[in-house]
Symmetry: C2
Subunit: 343 residues, 2 copies
DNA sequence: TATTACTTGAGGTACGTACATCAGAGCAAG
DNA sequence: CTTGCTCTGATGTACGTACCTCAAGTAATA
């Protein structure tokens, strides 16, 4: 059997009350005694039964996803998974909620974060582009005792806050290699379309993409990134101009998580069957495009996994437990028409 | 707050004792009263607090993985993940164990299953090729009150036993399409190597592979499957003979989860850099081969996910809960050198 | 020495559920 | 009316932990 607090009390030679004081960091215990208890914890391998503790405490976890104010199909999918997790986890006394509240403006986004208090939330998952303002706001949030993970976009290596998402550099490299291999041995230019290049995510993808192309596929020349800014007409125009100016465009890489605008512009400008086109994120739209062979591959991250991983990390932090690292690594998925359907 | 058994008693107009009798299916309650309680459960949306119940009952779950007697690198990886899950889940009173016990012979494997009793195990995950003997043994296991899932290999649509693994037909199709696209526009023959074609898994992969090639890549002709039977010399010989007999072999598809023998044979017979080679399952060996560009892609299923999914399904069955379907779908992963490293 | 502060132990109640025991109600058969 | 049976309620203990109160101990200070 697993040792209980009683066993611990016996092993440490103190009473249950003292064990309780130490475990829950209450005051009024000599340092010496604290050490004795901690040593006993090591010695007998005591681990608190979190379920029993939560039961006694009547605890429930409140986790909130702070998402961008406006979003695309991918965000909608993420929200769907959040709702799913919400219903599934209610039985475990975990309340999951979300708010599409974060504006693009980093100052105003930071203000939203400033409004989050440990009274309302045990932890938040923040989906927002990296910025100094957000970084500061995050630090203050953590100081106030709210657990934080950065979600999908943001700074990967900003400890002690965890990052849930993929390495965008590697994602871009993956896209680059597939494009190169699908196109070989053809020669030509590659259109690169992004919603905006103002986000670190896009920049990193582009860097990874370019690196692979320049090193391993010198026959392919990526053009400067076209930005859509979410505007259909602008997108149509810049994409058409590109195809008009370069007769030897053989493929396209769509950087952002909103592929629709770019793809529709490309379809208007040229015959997609003669191009190799790669986009990011699985949505109903990209699925359809894969099936219709407009898209040749989609580089994706699993939204359900992202959501559950964020929640597990937040809970692990609340419980002061180590998460199972291998479970929380988000994979860069490659989707083609044949591995789209799940059993 | 979630309704408790007390709330349920009040709502049903009975005592706590009666509620307990109904919930735990004890005898001595009029059918009428049972119905009244069940209606109240629906009405107030009562769901048993499984943690509290387990605490009171002193319950712990015992799940066992029944694996093949002998195995390859992939099986070793799976075992590693089982051990990982074992340590992680001990805190949740879930005891995970494994036994490399199932021989190839279906009769003897069935005997092993016959030896599993609900006294020792709450649930087992069985990794064994589909056979009538095993199917019967599984049915009897379930009747004895042991939860069962089929693990990685076996029959996908054999209800009410769950299957944890990928659709091998789709996995083969995925391999076929990648091979075809990586090779385009070349023309030639494809070597197909398998450990044995006696397993349904291999057959299904081959079917999916052939279907894609014949429909979408008529320029590529897959050769009849070569079987290694785990014998290095035999493998060397048959592969070399293939390459000698067919000057126009441009690629290879390695069906099984043990790629080493086939790859080494191919390296001896020809220059792998001029071939497109696709194999299954991520192991340290296939990772290395991807990095060295001997392999062009690996079709894989995530062993950690497989293991955890099997455990979650078994636990859900024990608790008579519905699992979260979207979480338990095992994806067909495509690995290339760029999406190999995880953050 | 008396007073005070700090440390510790002993014991209780609670969380939501399981499980056991006993008492009483209702009812039918003798 | 008694006996025996079935159904139900009341009550208690337990699981492992949290949190509270009170008493008693020790040591330092006035």
């Amino acid at each position: 059997m697993r040792p209980t607090t009683k066993d611990l009390a016996k092993a440490a030679g103190v009473s249950l009350a003292t064990v309780d004081r130490v475990l829950n960091k209450r005051s009024g215990v000599r340092e010496e005694t604290v050490n004795a208890v901690n040593e006993a914890i090591q010695k007998i391998g005591f681990v608190r039964n979190q379920n029993a503790a939560n039961l006694a405490r009547g605890r429930n976890y409140r986790f909130e996803f702070l998402l961008p104010e406006t979003g695309d199909d991918f965000l909608a999918t993420v929200i769907g998974r959040i709702k799913e997790a919400r219903t599934a986890l209610r039985l475990d006394e975990i309340n999951v909620s979300y708010r599409c509240a974060l504006p693009n403006n980093p100052h105003r986004a930071a203000e939203i974060l400033a409004g989050v208090s440990p009274e309302d939330s045990d932890g938040v998952a923040i989906m927002a582009p990296e910025s100094p303002q957000l970084r500061d706001a995050t630090t203050r949030l953590v100081e106030r005792g709210v657990q934080v993970v950065h979600f999908i976009s943001g700074q990967p290596d900003l400890r002690p806050v965890d990052f849930v998402g993929v390495d965008n550099n590697a994602a871009g490299a993956t896209a680059g290699r597939l494009l190169g291999r699908f196109l070989a041995p053809r020669t030509g230019k590659i259109v690169v379309v992004s919603e905006t290049m103002n986000s670190l995510d896009s920049v990193e993808r582009r860097l990874g993409f370019d690196k692979v192309l320049s090193r391993d596929f010198p026959n392919l020349t990526p053009l400067p990134s076209l930005e859509t800014f979410g505007d259909p007409e602008r997108t149509s125009r810049v994409v058409r101009t590109s195809y008009e100016n370069h007769a030897d465009i053989v493929g396209a890489y769509i950087l952002g998580s909103e592929a629709r605008l770019a793809i529709e512009a490309i379809r208007k400008a040229t015959d997609p069957a003669l191009q190799v086109i790669i986009a990011h994120e699985r949505t109903r739209y990209t699925e359809t495009m894969l099936r219709e062979r407009v898209l040749d591959a989609v580089i994706a991250q699993n939204p359900g996994h992202l959501v559950r991983s964020a929640i597990r990390l937040l809970k692990a932090r609340c419980d002061q437990r180590q998460p199972l690292v291998s479970q929380e690594q988000i994979r860069i998925e490659i989707l083609i028409e044949d591995n789209l359907d799940l059993r």
